[in-house]
Symmetry: C2
Subunit: 322 residues, 2 copies
């Protein structure tokens, strides 16, 4: 069996490229990071547990990708540029094939975003992956949850609900064919963090959040922290390509409450509509206007005709779900 130090050296130690910002990477008591002058450091941490955030026996390559992707998605939601990350890993056993695929999946995405692995910890234990990610954002330019303004448009990137559809397929909540499940499951297992869009929205969007637990619940975080309410046009929601073939009630439900899509939900003044669309084009991801921010608290769901939709939606909560 590999020792802890061999494990780090074999799979996770690489020569550091960004020597100006990263003075010292894996292998000392601490890593050393020098943010550029005038920049704030944006920091986020996510812990993924087997059987909770991913299936036991999950493909290690896509798992490695997803663990970093969900963290990069938090940077995207702040408009921060990825810089570096640390990885803490509890493993029941050390298997070469698993570690090789896992580290390759993770480091391929890291390379894509020039995000360096600068430190970490490994231990024996039930499979648990905890990443802390660091990004840079100019002082005052971060897209904060508390920055929505009355009258703002509400936007969402990409499409919603296909990740939830895949989960429904795996759980046998509904019957979908193999091809549909396969296509939808890519959204579940290998989400694309909207980093380029987050950067392009600096100075254009007011508030932003990434949709990890479902649009309904995540948008509410923006509204609560901004002390505002909103109306959503449920028929305007950009439904995932696979979900679009399902019944309307499922489309609405999964687009509103499905987690794991890792799209961005953000608000911007109506004067910025052209700028938002240009930013989305530059980031090669669609952006769809789905509602507007209002003074009255709460979240009102309307159909295309402006009729209220009665619903009992809730976003995902790790301690309230079974």
């Amino acid at each position: 069996m590999l020792s802890e130090f061999d494990l780090i050296a074999t799979y996770f130690t690489r020569s550091i490229r960004c020597s100006e910002r990263i003075a010292l990477g894996v292998g000392d008591d601490c890593a050393l990071l020098s943010p550029s002058p005038g920049m704030q450091l944006a920091i986020s941490t996510d812990m993924l547990v087997e059987g909770r955030h991913f299936f036991p026996g999950a493909n290690p390559y896509t798992l490695g990708h997803k663990c970093l992707a969900v963290n990069l998605s938090d940077l995207a939601a702040m408009g921060a540029k990825p810089l570096a990350f640390t990885l803490a890993l509890a493993l029941p056993v050390t298997e070469h094939d698993w570690l090789q695929a896992f580290s390759q999946g993770m480091l391929a995405l890291a390379d894509e975003h020039e995000c360096e692995l600068i430190g970490g910890d490994t231990t024996k234990g039930p499979l648990n992956i905890c990443i802390t990610v660091f990004g840079e954002v100019p002082l005052g330019a971060a897209l904060r949850r508390d920055a929505a303004k009355e009258g703002d448009d509400i936007w969402v990137s990409g499409t919603l609900g296909d990740a939830r559809l895949a989960l429904a397929g795996y759980r046998k909540e509904c019957r979908i064919d193999e091809a549909t499940l396969h296509a939808a499951s890519k959204r579940l297992h290998a989400p694309t963090p909207r980093v380029a869009l987050g950067l392009a929205l600096r100075g254009i969007a007011h508030a932003a959040i990434d949709i990890s637990d479902g649009l309904f619940g995540d948008l509410r975080h923006i509204l609560e922290r901004s002390r505002l309410g909103a109306r959503l046009d449920v028929d305007a929601l950009p439904v995932g390509a696979m979900l679009a073939h399902q019944p309307q009630s499922m489309q609405r439900n999964f687009a509103l409450t499905g987690g794991d899509d890792y799209e961005l939900c953000f608000t911007a003044a109506p004067e910025q509509r052209e700028a938002v669309l240009a930013a989305a084009r530059a980031a090669t991801v669609p952006a769809t206007r789905i509602g507007s921010v209002e003074v009255a608290p709460g979240l009102r769901l309307l159909d295309r005709q402006g009729h209220a939709i009665e619903s009992e939606f809730a976003s995902f909560d790790h301690f309230l779900s079974p």
Copy 2:
């Protein structure tokens, strides 16, 4: 049962005091941190797993203390001043009493070091605590593992081996009385990170490391990264107050290889002896000279008379131990 968001709000959200450096704490996609100009950020992450790093049913107050203490110890070993930390927590259930005691133990130590909790993640899962800690150190002033120089004295802070003695008592490897076990176990359960000493050693010490896996193995990390060797006077090791009453062979073994003491091992030029002792006095912790750095690779153990001690010592490795 508490929801994930209630849990964070109830136990871990506090008003942030250091508003100049910490722009945004718990509750957004990312925390925002602004290191002071001319400072590097020192970053370390440690993951603690139940049954591995602490006993099932461990006292939650001291557990909260220890989880942060081991991370602060990494900052101490770099000469970095604590700034902030993130906490990711997997819990099988949410119990009020446990969470209250755990957060109090952790936040009491955080307050002592003015180290703010700025973000985190909570999820359901086998008990796992992952902390990432951030400190500041002036550019170029970090005490790195690769900075030992030929002829340096080797020093250790405080005393060694009492944490290992407590572990031996719990494991029934040896017979020790209740009072001894009680006193020794404080070193195991509630280590004191040597933050003040690390800061005082800036500009005086060359290389430093904190002793988490045992002096023998941890000193070897300094030597390997500095491409040097060393001789150690085993009879000079500052043996813990409880361990000092045990047989000599156990004293040597536990002082050399016992982990969990979280003392600092560091090297400094012989001209700095007075300065090291003054730094230790200022930090109110003893410092003891235990050997010297040599060109010949390897670690040579000698007794007071200069005779070589034959030994088969190894430090703790999470994947090689059962």
